[in-house]
């Protein structure tokens, strides 16, 4: 065998050293190919490992059904507050703030944390989500000034979180809504609000200003995830897209209950949603009533969600039923996305969605416990 190999080597006119060099080179080439092929999936997974472990740790600290049930059965808000002091996530805020404010701060901090640790490729969407705190604070400021609240009362409404909190705090002593908009000069929200300010000045209602902020947020959120180049971004796009579509549907349903037509609704719509593109939204806005909107949604994934609660709506006339069903749809779809990429974006979406649900539920419970003799069964119905 050795002789045969030696013969082959010499017949090729190669010395032993040259043969060795060729073998070495072949190994280097094969090795390089293997390294490139083998490490590609690792490169996709690697950026998510650290943030995923962190969000899963926080997910583990979320209240389970049994704990939520215990909270529902609490006798008063103080009991709930004491219960939440046992959670490291809420405890640090409860000494200085009211229960609802502590919940809002914690949620704001959660958005901020996720936006900081999310991998670069998906970070922009979470950075947009972190703007929710600023937008909520601006809305509170506008509402407070519309109602003519004092500086102290206005300050009480602000949640101390978000990148603009200190700037907004300085605006609590201004007198009018117009002054608030002027005070926001230099921020990304100024041009958005200035555009609809004439409408406010005409009607004296801050609704157009609030809607403009919502529209800006959702537009930006959708745009941040609009180029789904890989599976993680595709899941993110679906997750974000569902939120945009649901916001559009909620707006249309509310408008139809109030008897508004296309011209009245269209300025507040996100022009092109995820599943509901421009032409479909036009159909929905032009529908006669709520039933017409639901019929037009046939063929989309939102149809079954709304059709299921249509009989109950016909009995009660409460549009909140649709909103609850759509919120549940968002939670369920986020849960299914969270299972699609366990080593990718899945755990981040799962955690964020469940955190939002937890805070929403805790607020519902807290609000109910502030009421005299609010039935426990009613609270359970109101939970997401």
């Amino acid at each position: 065998m050795a002789d045969e190999i030696a013969t082959i080597i010499s017949s090729l006119g190669l010395s032993n050293e040259a043969f060795l060099a060729i073998v070495l080179l072949a190994f280097v080439v094969i090795g390089a190919i293997i390294v490139i092929v083998a490490t590609r999936p690792i490169l996709d997974v690697y950026p998510y490992l650290h943030p995923n472990a962190r969000v899963r740790a926080r997910k583990g600290r979320l209240f389970d059904d049994k704990q939520i049930s215990e909270l529902v059965e609490a006798n008063n808000v103080e009991e709930i507050t004491n219960y939440l002091r046992g959670s490291p996530d809420y405890a640090e805020y409860l000494d200085n703030y009211t229960l609802e404010k502590a919940l809002d701060i914690q949620l704001g901090e959660t958005y901020d944390l996720v936006s900081r640790m999310a991998p670069k490729e998906i970070q922009s969407s979470f950075k947009v989500m972190a703007k929710k705190s600023d937008i909520a604070n601006i809305k509170s400021l506008l509402t407070a000034k519309e109602a003519g609240l004092s500086q102290e009362a206005t300050e009480e409404l602000l949640v101390p979180t978000g990148s603009l909190y200190e700037d907004l705090q300085r605006l609590t002593d201004v007198d009018t809504v117009t002054d608030v908009v002027a005070g926001l000069d230099g921020t990304e929200y100024a041009p958005i609000l200035e555009e609809v300010l004439p409408e406010y000045e005409k009607t004296g209602m801050v609704l157009p200003l609030e809607s403009a902020l919502d529209k800006y947020y959702l537009d930006k959120l959708l745009a941040s995830s609009e180029t789904p180049s890989d599976e993680n971004k595709q899941i993110l796009y679906s997750y974000v897209g569902n939120q945009v579509d649901v916001a559009n549907i909620k707006l249309i349903l509310r408008a139809k209950v109030d008897g508004l037509d296309y011209d009245a609704i269209s300025p507040y719509m996100i022009d092109s949603g995820y599943q509901l593109r421009e032409w479909k939204l036009k159909d929905l806005m032009e529908a006669e009533d709520v039933t017409g909107v639901i019929s037009s949604l046939e063929g989309t994934k939102y149809s079954d969600v709304l059709t299921d609660v249509l009989p109950e709506y016909n009995e009660t006339g409460s549009v909140a039923l649709f909103e609850q069903a759509l919120d549940k749809f968002l939670v369920d779809s986020a849960k299914s996305y969270s299972m699609k990429k366990p080593l990718g974006i899945g755990p981040i979406i799962g955690f964020l969605s469940q955190k939002e649900v937890e805070v929403k539920n805790l607020k519902v419970i807290a609000r109910a416990k502030r009421e005299e003799d609010f039935p426990i069964s009613k609270i359970r119905e109101m939970l997401v």
Partner: protein
């Protein structure tokens, strides 16, 4: 210049492949497990010990590769004390290195992913520890197969004994 027989030189390539690829898989796997563990420890200090255990799991592939590489170097005569290997045995030695090298690469990467995922599961629910260890240990088998075949090749390929 030291004269090295062709077979011995080929065995040296085998040794390099053995530790090179097994080490690469082990390093990638350990990096993934450690990245997950650091994230877990950042949220929960009690995860340190468990994080270390999961991060250490993908170390074994490098150990197998290292052992095979040492055996090749010793029995090929590269470390002295022998006549050197025949060309045929040298080619067998490349097979030995490829066996544990590539098996270790796949096994290490797989184990790293499983370990990182297990750390995430445990930090969410501590009861997952035992199950996490079992799932993370599964990709070890490929490295064991590679190691066994490498030993058999050395024994029956005229390198050992």
């Amino acid at each position: 210049m030291v004269e090295i027989a062709l077979g011995t030189a080929l065995a040296a390539i085998g040794a390099g492949v053995a530790i090179g690829f097994a080490g690469l898989g082990s390093g990638l796997g350990q990096g993934m497990a450690a990245a997950g563990s650091v994230g877990a420890v950042a949220e929960d200090n009690d995860m340190f010990a468990r994080g270390i255990i999961f991060s250490a799991l993908p170390e074994t592939q490098a150990i197998y590769g290292f052992l095979i590489a040492i055996l090749l170097l010793v029995f090929s005569g590269l470390l002295g004390g022998g006549e050197g290997l025949s060309t045929t045995a040298g080619i067998v030695a490349i097979g030995v290195g490829a066996s544990i090298g590539f098996a270790g690469l796949g096994s290490g990467m797989g184990q790293g992913m499983a370990a990182a995922s297990s750390v995430g599961a445990i930090v969410e629910d501590t009861d997952m520890f035992a199950r996490g260890i079992i799932f993370s240990a599964l990709p070890e088998t490929q490295a064991i197969y590679g190691f066994l075949i490498a030993i058999l090749l050395m024994v029956f390929g005229g390198i050992l004994g």
